[in-house]
Every structure is written in C-alpha cells, then in structure tokens.
Symmetry: C2
Subunit: 295 residues, 2 copies
C-alpha cells in the first residue's frame, strides 16, 4: 500500500492529487523521476554513487539507500511513471522534527543553460543563498501530542533574511518554538541536538572533512536534512539527531575539483550552528565597520 | 625617488605613462586610489583592519602594513592624486617568483549594482573562477641570471582552463618552467615551496582556519599572492615562501556571516596545491562517471 509521506517539509508533494513521492510500510520512498533531464540525472547519480568504491562507509550513511527504479502509478493519476526507489529516511522516526536546507550560494552548475542559470540566479539572490551560502527550504518542529507539528507553509521561507535564518536555527532546538516572532527561543535542546559527539554539528563536520577532499561529485541544489526526536531530546541524552543529504537532480561530475560551492555553504551553516552552542542567547549585530561600502 | 615597481604581475601598471602604483627605496608601495567608490572603500578597509583588535597577529602578517594615505604626483602625469601608502611586499626579495590568484567563485558582493554584477558574472564564468573558485591573474617565474623572468602577458591567462591552472601551479615550482606546453614540469621545488611547516600550503591552511571562523569582512575580488626565491629553493631548504593578501577595493562587512565564497575558493586552491605535493607527476583526468549530465 503506497501513501503520501507524512513528514515531507520541502519539494514537490503528492497531496491534493499532484505528482509527488510516495512511501510504503516497509521503509521505502518512491520518488517520481523529474521532468527533462533531471530525473535521468538523479538516477545516474544514485547508480554511480552506489557502485563507487571511493565513497567511505561513514559518508555513505549520509545518503539514502538506493534500491533502483520502478514503474508505478503516479500520485497524480497520470498513469504509470518511473520512480526512484529509495530508503524512507523518516520511517524509523516517530515524531521527527525536520529542517531542509538547500546548500550552496549558487544552485546552478557552470555548464547549465543560460535560461536555467538566470532562473536560479534570481532565486539565489532573492533568498539567503547568495549571502549565506544556503537557504532554509522548509521545516517542521514537533511540539507535543496536543499541539502537534509547527510546519509553516513554503511561502513562509521565501522572504527569509539572515536574521530569520539565525532565529529559525534557534527555534528548531527550542522547547518554546512557534511562529510568534516576539517569543525568544530558549534553545533548550541545543546541546543534545546540535552538540555532542553524535550531534548535528559533529555530523556536519564529518561531511565537511569529506568535501574538503572529494573531487568526484559537485552537489548543486542539493539539501541537507537535519532531523531529531523531541521526545528523546526531552530525556536529555541522545536525541536521534541525524544529518542526511537529499535531492541529486543537479549533481555533476567533479572532474578533479572540490565542490567549493557546497563546502563554503556547509561551513557557513556549521558556523551558525556552533554559535548557537557557544551563545544560546542571541546578541544584537554590531554597527558598521567600514565607512564606505559600495561597489 | 619614486619608481615603477619591478615585480608587479597583475592589476593596473604605471609603465608607459599610465596610472599605476609606485615604490620607493624605503620599502613603501604607493597605490593610487581607484576611481568611483573603490578607492575610498580600500582606504576604509585598511583603516578598519589596522585598528581592529580582533585580528590575530598570525593573520595580520598576511596583509601589507598600512601607513595611511598621501597626495603624490600621479604616474600618468595627471597631477596630484591620493595614494594608499603600503608596505612594498617584494622589497625584501631579490628575484621573486610571484603568482597572483584572485580568490572566490564570485567576485561581486550581493549588494552590488546590477551593471557591476553582470560585468563580474561574465568575467567569472569566462574564466576559471566559477568552476574552480579562483583564477590566476598573473605570474612571473624566475629562471636564472641568463634567462631572467618568464612573465606572460595578461592575455595569456584570460583563456585559462582548469587544466591550464593545474599546469601553471606545477610550472610555478619547477626547474624547467617555460611557456612550452609540451615540457613536462618537474615540480623540483614543490616540497620546499608548497610543502614544509613554513611552506605555502601551511600558510594557506592557517588562513583557512581563520576564514572558517571570522565574520568581520568578506573579501570579494581579493587576491592571494604566492611568492618565493628560486635561489633559496635551489639550496633545498627554506625558500622564502610567502603568502600575502592584496586588493581590498571590494571588501564588505561580514555582518556575522563567514566569507564562504572566499573560503570555498581557498579550499579549492589548497586541494590543488596539496595534490602537487602528493603526486608531482600529473595523471590524466578520469572518464565520465555520470551518463546523463545536463541541467
């Protein structure tokens, strides 16, 4: 029995009879191949990645397991359509809090078409991507049995500024997370979610070390998922914190060059995350250092 | 007595009666303020940087010492013109080999004008900047008393590909460096120039650690200079290898965000440099990993 995923926070969604991914009860995630070359490119990536002997196991665990492709009835009723069969990353979770962060100040590969570059450049400059090296595409934060999830609409994230991103990264690990912009997030779970040897920051640093060295793939427009279980975090020990990489429709070959675009954005995210650990209470930004600042 | 610098490898040059920097015998470098806001912005940067207590001494040494500004007769005879008074970075060298590398896949700050962005984007995409995160702007390599310097014209670098950059970084530390594309560079001096605790790589790694953390400045369109003395390298010990940062007309405030654009490019350069140390003999690039690679 295929159904619409309960915990998808960004990307195309199968609800309302549209084309989107499906999941089953055995922990598999079925993602319809995207249009034009994107679908074929994502299959090519998973195929190449799965069989590549140069990927160390501690890095492979950041990626969904790939089970091949399968023809399935599309969620929009348009008939049979090829799907990627992947590991359902949240199937082992009960009430996951999830954040989807698109990494890279640039979401277009150098060899893309002029139209595609213009489209991406507009989105990158219109979001925090250019400035921060990443943008938040979506999240859900679990509150309690009573309050359920706080899961803002896509449009909530579109106008995000640097300060909004900083605030969201703090709200994500707070016991008092809410849309209310006046509420000062307490970062109560920061040390068990972002911190510790099994925490998000440790995992991001492991990824960073790989990206400083690997020249196999360049991950354009790919997302980091950060996940945890609030119920575990409340107990104050392990929080089930996990980092995963998803969305590989725009991966290209590295050809001997590191993915400096992904690496730069990842380092920026790491800096923000580690700042929350060192100073859970936000201090106001400093006033101008340079008198003349134009270009 | 002011004169035209003997060892400038990129940027505006005062030779042929044009406007450009001058040097004196006491080790000072006089750089005319650039037009529009660029000159004022560079003065603002040096002023702010010089007095900033957060810059550690081991980082400060990568920057030219700033002595203020001074009105001087311009090198193009156009009359008195304000100049930055800086440390002449090569005054302590005898026969310096120098490479000027503009760092960053993007040379424009997000807040720049549309015209400026379009101009930079074209140059970044037309050079290796977008692909590699940096581009070589110029170099000179000292050969011997007889052969003097190999110093290609600006235009030589404009059509540089990734492979040209890799080759240039190897020729730079070779005893048989020449324009001849058939000559296989021997990388004879790689271990004393790039390697070692005082070498270029160690210095780049020190800079990298600072860029992972500092959120004070963003260095757009700034260059790393790599310098050494071949005569010293021939003796096989210290090579006078030095890394310096120059050209701050497009520095903007970091406002709490790391300079992921500079950092990414720096990591890319570090990877190339360290590869030369581990495999001084170049191996041919691998064939395609992804079957479908378009966007």
């Amino acid at each position: 029995m295929l159904k619409v995923p309960a915990h998808q926070v960004a990307g195309h969604q199968a609800s309302d009879g549209k084309l989107g991914p499906l999941v089953d009860d055995s922990g598999r995630f079925y993602k319809p191949l995207q249009s034009e070359e994107r679908g074929a490119n994502e299959v090519a990536f998973y195929t190449s990645f799965s069989s590549n002997k140069q990927i160390p196991d501690h890095i492979r665990r950041f990626f969904p397991v790939f089970y091949g492709t399968q023809l399935l009835k599309a969620s929009d009723g348009s008939g049979m359509c090829p799907h990627l069969v992947l590991q359902d990353l949240v199937s082992s979770h009960i009430n996951p809090s999830i954040m989807d962060i698109k990494i890279g100040s640039r979401t277009w590969p150098p060899q893309a078409s002029e139209d595609y570059i213009a489209k991406c450049l507009k989105k990158d400059r219109g979001s925090t991507s250019t400035e921060l090296g990443f943008r938040i595409s979506g999240f859900q934060v679990y509150g309690s049995k009573e309050s359920g999830y706080w899961k803002p609409d896509k449009r909530y994230f579109r106008s995000f500024t640097t300060e909004d991103v900083k605030l969201a990264l703090r709200k994500f690990v707070s016991s008092n997370a809410s849309a209310d912009s006046d509420c000062n997030p307490d970062c109560a779970f920061a040390s068990v979610i972002y911190g510790g040897s099994m925490g998000i920051l440790a995992q991001l640093l492991e990824l960073k070390a790989w990206f400083e060295d690997q020249t196999i793939f360049h991950f354009y427009s790919c997302s980091v998922l950060m996940m945890f279980e609030k119920e575990l975090a409340l107990k104050g020990r392990s929080s089930g914190a996990e980092v995963k990489l998803v969305d590989f429709a725009h991966v290209v070959e590295g050809r001997g060059v590191i993915d400096h675009n992904f690496l730069g954005g990842l380092c920026s995210l790491i800096k923000f995350t580690s700042e929350i650990l060192t100073s859970p209470v936000e201090s106001p930004p400093k006033a101008g250092l340079l008198d003349s600042e134009r270009s």
